[in-house]
Amino acid sequence: MVGWEYPPHNSGGLGVACEGMTQALAEQSTQIYFTLPYRFSQKLGHMKVITCQTTSEFLEAPPFHAYSQVLPCQRKLTSADLEDFSNLPQSEIEQRVNQYASQVLSQGQKLRNGYDLVHAHDWMSFPAAMKLQQKLHKPFIAHVHSTEFDRIPSGHGSHYIAHTEYMGLRQADKVIAVSHFTKKILMEKYFVDEKKIEVIHNGVSPVASLGEVPRFASRRPVIVFMGRLTAQKGAEYFLQLAKAVLRSIPDALFVVAGSGDQYHSLLFKNADQQLSASVLFTGFLRDHQKDVLLSRADVFVMPSLSEPFGLVALEAAQRGTPVIVSKNSGVREILKSAPEADFWDIEVMTNQIKSLLQDQNYRQQVIEGQNHDLENSTWGNAATQIKKVYDQVKKS
């Protein structure tokens, strides 16, 4: 498996998905070699991690963050290790990805009899997978967690990245999309043959109880946004929504959790619209605080412009929080009971929030429905489907 990041050095969903997926596959007797472009010192029981980097450097995190997350890392890292790729010159991104491809190839050659196929995650790993496919004739499965069209909704994303995605998807023997939403993008924007695409939804790992946690802001309804503060995630629409909801529910409290390139402009917009004590910004939250907020939320809103999957919505639902999901998301295919809306449709979302806060029967119905939706959303199920794809490519 060709990866790019793995917890704890993940910028978001990709690393988390790789963790859940490989654990479940290992449980179903799959032997995995997992390559990373940085030194991974931790020992994992379920698979073998192979560091693939040039000998001159010793990175302890991905050379750049694939999804431009402003990532607070728990470990000591040199700043050069954590470059946001959008700040890197194009040539450097290409160089990094090509270096990784060469290293993966040389490791892959050494192990050539130890594996049957190559399973690669997103564009950063596609060049490596293509090399193994060409030189060693291993089947190549391209797993798409996110595309350049999602990340840069304006359509002015990186040509190099989009091209790498296109080439990888064209060369791949099989493509796994994390949602039907993504499958559609792959067909329409990347012209991938429908028959080549398999939709396999991510699972979600079961959550532990939070124990006794003081209930903050207990007097007010709390509505939460959590995600990177980039155009893709639609935080701007969340502010508009807050303004609209406050007209009828003046004591509603909105919380924006996350960081990103829109952070400062969102704060200015917030103050400019006189929302200062009604919409509060927490910055990036992780672990316990993240769970406490998702659990405390009376409503969770995900107004993404384009969301291939949207794990955080599932995490909120796992905590018994009703979720409003964007129609442009993969997660709505799983959370069928959750109210959905166009990310720009403030009126619809306002009414949904009002109903969820004021109509207890409706609220209960949504929560129960979501719980039911979550039942099949396991990594075990995802792994079973992935193994079917493995069998298909091995046969052909």
């Binding site: 007097r219 004591d251 704060l267 917030n270 103050a271 004590a277 509060l280």
Partner: protein
């Protein structure tokens, strides 16, 4: 041959605790107040570097030079913190006041911007300050200085109505129209309040440039400084207004700032020059009507290059925070809940809005030096989260 009028400002805000959304409704304090807290640490550090040694030096100078007089202004929350964190500061201030050579000025208790937002709140805070000064020092100030020397025609009216005899502010070129800043001015009519205007150049030579090695006049000796002062006429009034922390904190002891001050005072007196307090100036005024008018329709201050209010307001983060805090006035006061009112007033301290300033250029460095936050955005987030809690407490009281 000029008169020097010194005024030193003593102020420390109550800095906010690291308060997050998870604290909302948990009844946790907004301010650093525990035994090991930041406010105590900062206060004690500054006390040992500046307050104690400089107050000691001033006391010594009043003894050796009975003609040496000056003025001080202490915010109410400075005095409160001195009482709890470093009572020696209060004792020294009391000794100084007892010499009769020091004049204490009036100001808002919370070092707030209330003069710009609420006349009623402004008056309450000024009276609260007056009561504390009277309790601690047994005197009632007659001269007013507003937070950061903020001044406008309208504020002059407020201050006159409260019965103060004069006010201190900044000499700003756009209001002086070429007139000399070394004379006493009057506020615009009908207030006719005498105004003492800060001599920025001579003040900042001490307050900002003293230890700057890039400055062509560095090192500044007492002789050189007094020579500059001597170039003025006998009737010229040199208002040297500055932060008290200039001595020992902004300019560290090893820059020689204390020795400079000691010698400067002696030299100035040796040259048959005098020191005056603001009330001495007013006493010797003949006819108010003859004073030139200092017309200030838009508020000015002593801050930054522009001497305007952009250090505290003007960006939307600041403006909306200020709007919020003053929008609560009527409801907060009607609760008569002392704890709630005190928290609300402590949140009015100008420093909270200063930390939200996003001006870049040279002033940004000064702001950064004084701010406990990583960024103006962090200051805004913390402040607004606390206001959200204040609103909740207000809602609870009303039930």
């Amino acid at each position: 041959m000029a008169r020097i009028c010194f005024y030193f400002q003593l102020h420390q805000p109550y800095r906010l605790r690291d308060y997050t959304v998870f604290d909302l409704g948990q009844k946790s304090s907004y301010f650093e107040e525990a035994d090991t807290d930041l406010n105590r640490q900062i206060f004690r550090k500054v006390a040992h570097k500046s307050y104690l040694p400089m107050l000691g030096l001033l006391l010594e100078l009043t003894k050796t030079h009975p003609e040496f007089v000056f003025s001080l202004s202490c915010s109410g929350i400075f005095l409160e913190q001195a009482q709890s964190y470093e009572p020696g500061v209060i004792a020294l201030l009391q000794d100084l006041v007892e010499t009769g050579q020091v004049e204490l000025l009036a100001e808002t208790y919370y070092h707030s911007l209330a003069s710009l937002y609420s006349p009623a709140e402004f008056r309450s805070q000024v009276l609260q300050h007056e009561r504390l000064v009277e309790t601690l020092f047994g005197i009632k100030p007659s001269i007013f200085r507003n937070t950061e020397l903020i001044y406008s025609n309208q504020i002059a009216t407020l201050v006159t109505e409260m019965g103060y005899e004069a006010m201190l502010t900044e000499a700003v070129d756009r209001c002086l129209h070429g007139r000399s800043r070394t004379q006493v001015f009057s506020s615009s009519r009908p207030a006719n309040l005498p105004l003492l205007l800060k001599h920025a150049q001579l003040s900042d030579d001490i307050a900002f440039r003293f230890s700057n090695k890039q400055w062509e006049e560095h090192p500044l000796t007492a002789e050189k400084y007094v020579h500059w002062v001597d170039s003025y006429w006998e009737n010229d009034l040199l208002n040297l207004f500055m932060d008290f922390e200039t001595f020992g904190e902004h300019q560290w002891s090893d820059t020689g700032i204390f020795d400079f001050f000691r010698h400067m005072v002696s030299k100035h007196l040796e040259n048959k020059n005098s020191f005056v307090r603001p009330s001495d100036v007013i006493e010797n005024l003949e006819l108010y009507a003859e004073l030139p008018i200092y017309d200030v329709p838009d508020p000015i201050s002593w801050a930054d290059i522009d001497r305007d209010l952009t250090a505290w307001r003007g960006n939307t983060l600041q403006d909306d925070s200020l709007r919020l805090i003053y929008s609560l006035e009527e409801k907060i006061l009607s609760t008569q809940d002392e704890a709630l009112i005190t928290d609300w007033r402590r949140l009015q301290t100008s420093d909270h809005f200063y930390y939200m300033c996003v001006k870049w250029a040279a002033d940004g460095d000064v702001h950064k030096y004084f701010s406990p936050y990583d960024s103006p955005f962090a200051a805004y987030n913390r402040f607004t989260t606390i206001v959200a809690d204040l609103q909740d407490r207000l809602a609870e009281v009303k039930i």
